[in-house]
Subunit: 476 residues, 2 copies
């Protein structure tokens, strides 16, 4: 999962909330005539649910990905192997039209990196360079640390207080079920390096953007730029941020840190998307798009982010592909490349396929936690169908939540399509534990729970099937 959400999402969400608070519901009206699904469709929904809740295929997909490929940085040789793996895997699952579509990108690559307190409290600090970070000078830099509680404190700081320092933004992240703690905490990951540069600082360290207390640090994209606009930047594992914070608070003289980051950008890298289809029986040109992403960061195995998403949509679509009667519309799997470095795969997909008939799109990129809420962004006239879908998901303990707002923002891999008018289904996962492992070395298979994965597969199978089968026009 790449975050923060785009600015457009935030505006949309804020607007919808404001309208809701004012009791205004201009975007969506409570539907008055519930629609019913036919007995055949309902039987198929039940069969899909039962099959998914006993599914082993999805788990085998993510297990195989972490085993055969492991970490797969955008634009790397490993990501290319992941594409080959995906093409071969999707073919063996029986999908139609399996193909890779490559695109060029400038790929950031981390090299060696280390940090340590120097002097009479010398000890190593566990760090991860932030995506886009320039290298330090060879041999590293050594400078006093200036601890600040937030980006606001850095922005308000007189430049002469920052000059020559290593800025340390010691801001924690709240644990939330809906992932909103991340949105609040991740800002410093992008903002610190350029702000520190403007203030004349030498580097920026941030407390890792995660909810874990164990000694895993966190990768993730920082700001775009180069050494003329950015200082080198890295995230500290929480226990290391704790130690640095205590040292700074206790010290009578400045605490000095040595920081050494080696990183590079390959301007000529190649990434790519992988596509596969379940071809609709009567309206094959109408596409229900199901997206996840292929690339990962380098510290972990990419099991949760986003091997789980790949497993969920693949296993769900396969169950539909093996139905005796296919749904009316086509279901297309999009495994996007280079999501983590700016949603590049989603953008490339939009360029290549934006003119096709995308009816509705959904993305699985919130880990492997159970789905607790379904939301949509559909035409008001389509809301009775949305509610029929919600009723079909209710036995999986999935709520409608605040879907009256009908304004879900979608996700990175489908933005290009939904911004062109496709409707959105959002199957929101419980993210209360996601940010314990997200972008860390502990993004490993053991963090994928089989039962939760099966619940995801069941919800996706039902949602994709109904989206493709119901006689609705969901585009808003």
């Amino acid at each position: 999962m790449k975050t923060p959400p785009t600015f457009a999402h935030k505006i949309r969400h804020t607007l919808a909330l404001l309208l809701a608070m004012a009791g205004i519901n201009s975007f969506a009206a409570e539907p008055t005539v519930p629609i019913s699904l036919s007995p055949d469709v309902l039987r198929t929904v039940e069969a899909l649910r039962a099959a998914a809740l006993a599914d082993n295929n999805g788990y085998a997909v993510v297990e195989d990905l972490v085993t055969q490929v492991g970490p797969r940085l955008a634009g790397s040789e490993a990501e290319a192997r992941a594409r080959d793996w995906a093409v071969s895997m999707l073919r063996s699952q029986g999908f139609a039209k399996v193909r890779a579509e490559t695109f060029p990108m400038a790929a950031w690559q981390p090299g060696s990196q280390s940090a340590r307190v120097v002097g009479h409290n010398a000890q190593a600090l566990s760090i991860a360079a932030l995506g886009g970070s320039p290298s330090t000078v060879a041999g590293g830099i050594e400078a006093p640390v200036l601890r600040l509680a937030s980006m606001a404190e850095l922005n308000a700081l007189e430049a002469n207080l920052a000059a020559g320092k290593i800025i340390f933004i010691d801001e924690p992240m709240a644990r939330t079920g809906d992932g909103s703690g991340y949105g609040a905490a991740v800002g410093k990951r992008r903002a610190c390096a350029p702000a520190a540069k403007r203030k004349g600082a030498l580097a920026c360290l941030i407390r890792a953007v995660g909810t874990n207390t164990d000694r895993f640090t966190h990768q993730g994209m920082g700001a775009a730029g180069d050494a003329t606009t950015l200082v080198p930047s890295a995230a500290l594992a929480p226990p290391d941020a704790d130690i640095l914070a205590r040292l700074v608070k206790q010290a009578l003289t400045p605490v000095v840190v040595h920081l050494d980051i080696d990183a590079s950008t390959n301007a000529q890298a190649q990434s790519g998307n992988v596509l596969a289809e379940v071809i609709g029986r009567s309206a094959p040109e109408q596409i229900v798009l199901a997206a996840a992403h292929l690339d990962s960061w380098t510290l972990g195995h990419g099991a949760v982010d986003d091997g789980a998403g790949i497993a969920i949509i693949t296993a769900a679509a396969r169950l539909i592909n093996e139905l005796p009667i296919k749904p009316r519309r086509s279901i297309r799997i999009l495994l996007a490349g280079a999501e983590e470095q700016g949603g590049i795969g989603g953008t490339a997909y939009g360029k290549a396929h934006g003119q096709e008939q995308h009816v509705i799109a959904a993305e699985s990129d919130g880990g492997a936690g159970k789905i607790w809420r379904m939301r949509t962004r559909v035409a008001v006239s389509a809301l009775p169908y949305s509610q029929a879908l919600q009723r079909a998901l209710a036995p999986l303990a999935i709520n409608a939540g605040d879907n009256l707002l009908n304004k879900d923002g979608g996700g990175t891999d489908i933005d290009a399509i939904t911004e062109q008018g496709a409707a959105i289904i959002a199957l929101n996962q419980d993210m209360s534990r996601y940010f314990d492992v997200h972008h860390t070395a502990n993004d490993v298979l053991a963090e994928v729970d089989l039962n939760a994965l099966r619940q995801n597969i069941a919800a996706w199978a039902i949602a994709l099937y109904l989206a493709a089968e119901m006689e609705w026009q969901p585009q808003p």
Copy 2:
């Protein structure tokens, strides 16, 4: 905590168990006349318990140690700083006769280390070199992996099957409350490198000796020797062991791993113990010894192993030192150096102080889990006092367990003393989660629970006080 237990402990324990199974209790008889503690003593016990259960001093001790020093490998500059820290800390706590006693040692030091699968499934593997491992040749070695389920399989292997291979002992560890899973699993850590060398293998990888499923690998002492008797050896993080195991099982051709370990031994290193005392009011020459260890491995901060032990015995002894009337005997704190590399500090202490009157000894080196069981090894005639102590601990939810066997083995730091005749008190901690973090990068302060630490301090304060105050002769 250094393990495995010495051979002598194992024999003793096994013998005691066999006797118990046979209904024979030759070592200890159920005492017939319970002794009672005086009202004054009982009031003091209650006061110590209440003070300990509100104690913040112990937590501050371990917090300060990980902050000011952090990792402190035996024989290193950091361990020397830890001694300075300990002397200063114990003086500020108000103890008498605070002093460091140094001794020479040959200190193993890990350098850079890496491992990766090579070829079409290339990915990095997370490893930690085992203590005592020689370096690989410069640039590392590259060889096919031979996966075995246990040391028994390696020992039974025909040499021509091992020659030129990297041996991978893929044996898991059981989670147990009493730490016995570790005893069963740790054998390979010492045995693999020499056995692999004898068979002509090039290196040995073991599944990390821990109960964690997250991506932390595990350090710990391997076998003694050098490159003529040992192959380089390292422990794999559990998720990496999982991946390597699956690759080996699936592969049609051998899985090749590149392994690069740099390590050295400083034959002229110095370590040291730190001592401090609560001087007894009427029999100061009689010593109740309370031990923990100062050194740690390098990956983590040494909060749990054994910062917690240092905090527990220090805070407990301080509460006794501040009583209006000191106990009859002296209580001596021993913070041992170089425990992890073979109990060298405990041995040095035995040499320097073995002729003093050690009445009874206890060690805190099982992490920060609550104490669930008290056992002793005392003279049969002293068992009524043992039981009085057990009754005083019962309000802390501490059981007598199988103390009729009266054969606890003590611990590394006190072996030299107890083998010379001192009695033993063992306050056994709940170790069900200890081996999730033991010797890993995640041995951090967040793994120390304040309430559990306070319960430990309360039990230790009561046990040390009664051991020093009661009119008993516990030596067996």
